[in-house]
Symmetry: D4
Subunit: 155 residues, 8 copies
């Protein structure tokens, strides 16, 4: 089973190092995973449209243009993924994270949500559509190790 | 063309009368629309699981149980809809609204978002996946009248 | 919303009156539901193939022939359903009930399982794929009343 | 045709060496097959949720949590498979095996069931949805050799 | 269950009264079925293209044109059907009947084949993809009566 | 067969009376057809976005907004149609007509194209994806009469 | 573009060397194609079921068993193919070839049929669903060379 | 993320060097992209049918034959693509480009259109279905660099 490369898309929060911690943990565990993600450089992401296709006078269309370019990346990688991990942070509304989860659910992709307990009530619909809810990146690594290699953390 | 009944699902915010205003406007315009929606009685919605299937000791599973029962309704009606209208209010995080939009997008349903301009930047990914962004219920009625009956508002 | 007829398929156990109790409860609650089910007359079901297409010498092919004819009914009705309710009784292995649940899950149909707590561990995979697990027909009626009419049982 | 790697998922019974015998037989026959399977370490499988995401007070939710984590693995591998082999043993109810078969059927995957003749009547619906019913691992290897290499067993 | 109208498409042979006998039998049994079929007037069918869209000099394109127009009807009705019955007669090659069966199989429609035993070997692949193989129209009516009304023929 | 209502979407050219002639012909022939179409009032169509959702400063976004609102109608009706008829006139580029044909083809809808012979070479890819190419509305009526009622024009 | 390997399934007639001629021609032309096919050893194919899963007393079920095992191979390879070539010879009825074509059509696979002109009328429905009709293996190679490498035969 | 090869199909105009400029730009930027395209040799493309499958007397069928052979290539490559770029030039009607865009849209593929501003109004429906509209090949390269590598052009 060692040959199979699992494709895992890491959606959501872009203001903490949660992705790096998952990637480091998976590497350390020797798991055959190929991680993908949205562009996590916030200013670059906001300029995705105007920086490639030219300026826009109005904020709405600037955002629209950027969201279109970003969607090429995010939706392609979600469709190609075996598993979608979605992290909700305490700051920002992160509607795009919830949107990605809805997209993944309708495409039949398994979902792992990651967030603190105080967001539980607000995220109940998204958590219900997920196969697992983790509290931090370490738990996500534990889930990946079990799912891919069949091993539980030694305790 | 008068015979076709359009099925429109009204997702999102449950703390204002935006749905009633769309329904009243559509009725007034004589449009053949059948509206559906989630259960909008907030306490009932929160008790959807425990009120039907029995109490739960822990908050997480109480929400989980309720979200499961609510999903039977919402996902069935979204799948049956021709058009999904999603309203984001200024209060609450409304991740379920964004989740519903992601689900609708992946199912190939056209989407109309409804929200104030100050949410534009935060909702840019959802708006990009929509066919139209309206500012209020009256504009949604105008869109429905045009889409269904081919008529623009007289000005 | 009164016009929408919900199509509910009642899969699984055929040796108790659980279906009749759901149907009676839904009728009493005035819910617009159209129930469908497999043929629940056990001897007729076992003779579905040989009784229509001629005798078979071997038991395996007799069952095979009957299962084919029954599948025309069950799979058509599951595909046409909005919701699939699956009841597991304590007697018999009821692999066809679990098979129907797997089929429904892959088709994106919401599922409600119904069984006693002592089957919980054995049914955990099926329950996980369901939106709700009920203990009896009365709870199923409560779920239907909430899902369709937005009403919780008065207590 | 030698380059094609066939992906075969081995679902069902986890208390005998039937998988190892198929894998050994396929290796011996030089067949280009990549086998996948659920986690077959029973205690690990039962602890899949609590061992990775934290303890649960109630048995129902403990199972629910574990089934969610296991489903990430099983459903991903079933969706990726060319062929699903499902073994039913005489012990245990193995509803998850029948559930996997239903899932595979709706996804258009060919199925081979494996079981003793005394389970024939109980498994008739699942067998009918399968392309073949084998009695033991050796017959499964014979089917794989024919399907992949076009060779029948020498007798 | 009386309200459900079953849609049955009758594909294949057009040189005997097998369709009329099924329709008469279903009517007599009071079954709620709506039958559809290809155009069974052979000369009209052969002229479907040239009779509507103008003459063609070459036989190949004459047939091509006709087959296109006929396909509008047949493929639309097969896609709309709950069940596809395919009759193979002893005369003619009837490749279109086998083609329709392949189409129906890939669309997930249940199939009932109807033919004499001496065609069994030649039709084994098509029969294998079907849920049932009947020998005559009376058996098809028996299958329909069982599938729709749950009744076996009295004997 | 008289009960089936065929849903036919009339895409393309909006500057001639070709739709009215098809509708009149079908009515005269007593065919059970429900026709749908884009909004064919050119100025209204161009103002679909700004007339319902507010003015736009730039032409590109004005068109974008209008095209979004029009797409709600056109794509919903194409998805609901049994058959898509696409007319290409000699004026204008009508890329939206070809786009609609591509959409219909990928959705598995049968297509009838309608255009003069001097557009044959330019439209060869679209015609190849269609089941029939007609020269005028009268031929489309003849095709509909054959497809729905099995009758060829008397000559 | 040299890296893309095209997957071509060669369905139909098994009593002539038409496959070998296509494979030799493609090899000679240096085309990156991976050919797949049903088991073309006729006696082996007829014994596919009984030779792997045990004898059957009745001819019908012997064929049924064999057809099931063969379907694992053929339907998997058709689903994996980019292009399906279907050859109809003058002998035998080859309903399985037409069935494969129907399957491929519903799965959205392009089809090339290969047969002599005297089968044109009988095969008109299958030819209409194909993208091309060739008369011999050499023409199929010419089509492959054009489709893959963009080159026409020098004449 | 370096391992992922993006598959980009370049549809539309065949009379300028726009494809070469995108390919050169992507190569220069070191992007892991595999480009595919229709056959861009115009005379070869027009002779795709007759050059491989034999002459045709009538222009309509000559085109039909060629369009069928070309469709094997274009539709296979569009279905295999992650992203479809469609260029509309000022000359020719290029209905096939718009058709390809419609096909891609219904298949859920992201689209980038490329054209001059004076085609904006005529292409508004196609642009609306696209994720981005570029003005030249350099902008397409900028979009690819951002989408694949997360980098904006330095300015």
């Amino acid at each position: 089973m060692g040959e199979r490369i699992w494709k895992v898309y890491l959606a959501g929060e872009i203001h903490s190092d949660w992705r790096e911690r998952i990637e480091a943990g998976a590497r350390e565990a020797g798991l055959p995973v190929e991680f993908t993600a949205p562009v996590t450089d916030h200013p670059a992401s906001d300029a995705a449209g105007t920086g490639t296709l030219g300026e826009e006078a109005e904020a709405f269309w600037r955002d629209h243009k950027g969201a279109g370019v970003n969607a090429i990346r995010t939706q392609t990688l979600i469709r190609a993924a075996d598993l979608v991990v979605v992290r909700f942070g305490v700051r920002y509304r992160q509607w795009n994270a919830a949107f990605d989860a809805g997209l993944a659910a309708a495409l039949g992709k398994p979902i792992v949500t990651v967030h603190d307990p105080d967001l539980d009530h607000a995220l109940k619909e998204v958590d219900r559509a997920a196969q697992a809810t983790a509290r931090d990146s370490e738990q996500v690594v534990d889930v990946l190790r079990y799912v891919i290699a069949g091993q539980l953390p030694r305790s």
